[in-house]
Symmetry: C2
Subunit: 113 residues, 2 copies
Amino acid sequence: MAKAYRLRGRVWIEGPDGTFLGYGRVVLLERIREHGSISAAARSMQMSYRHAWKLVDSMNRQSREVVVEKSTGGRGGGGAILTEAGEKAVAAFWAAYGDFRDFLAQRSRQLDL
Amino acid sequence: MAKAYRLRGRVWIEGPDGTFLGYGRVVLLERIREHGSISAAARSMQMSYRHAWKLVDSMNRQSREVVVEKSTGGRGGGGAILTEAGEKAVAAFWAAYGDFRDFLAQRSRQLDL
DNA sequence: AAGCGTAATGTATCACTAAACATAACGCAA
DNA sequence: TTGCGTTATGTTTAGTGATACATTACGCTT
């Protein structure tokens, strides 16, 4: 039996200005949908708010329609919600990601070294 | 027409001790085959000798049979050659890499955002 | 014995990214 | 008007990996 080699990798969706969606970004979007705010989403995944905010800003700037709508002040201090466009982006990424996982698994089996 | 999004990514072959082969490592192996030494190979791709040596060492330690045979001293100061096992490893990586390129191209076309 | 170009390593510096801090602005509620 | 939790940003501080330097070992050639 061969040494346990396997094919691994990463994929992301890129726009004209660099990375638009990657694994971490998509998880962040889902956490925002779940928690209703960028700060709570960041906390839930041990990410600094600063970093999370920048990622959301990057995604919003690269998307035709914003993926996250933010509000400041008010009851609870404000918050953020995932838009329809955001939902669609998340789904598109997971679809590609799932196929990629399949590709890696299949190709790992074919490795002969 | 949609904004020009595309799927991008990276793949590598991983062993029990981390990365075994990646794009840069395989190019390095090919340069070693071409130039006959680690130092000349490193120079040819603007890589520091230090780094190139570490990569070769990592690959050799992770492979059942070494991928590069090195000799020190002697006429020309020594050198390095790609072994048969090395050739096989290079070929295996390019095969997976080529399929991955196809996968990305195909999936990029299917992206609807 | 001396010289050459390479392998082999240790140490230090630089570059880039992520994380940590530190505030300000905002708008509703009490 | 004060307080609260969030968005919004600037600044500073690690942490990581690549790069640069510096040195030794090696073995053939002349």
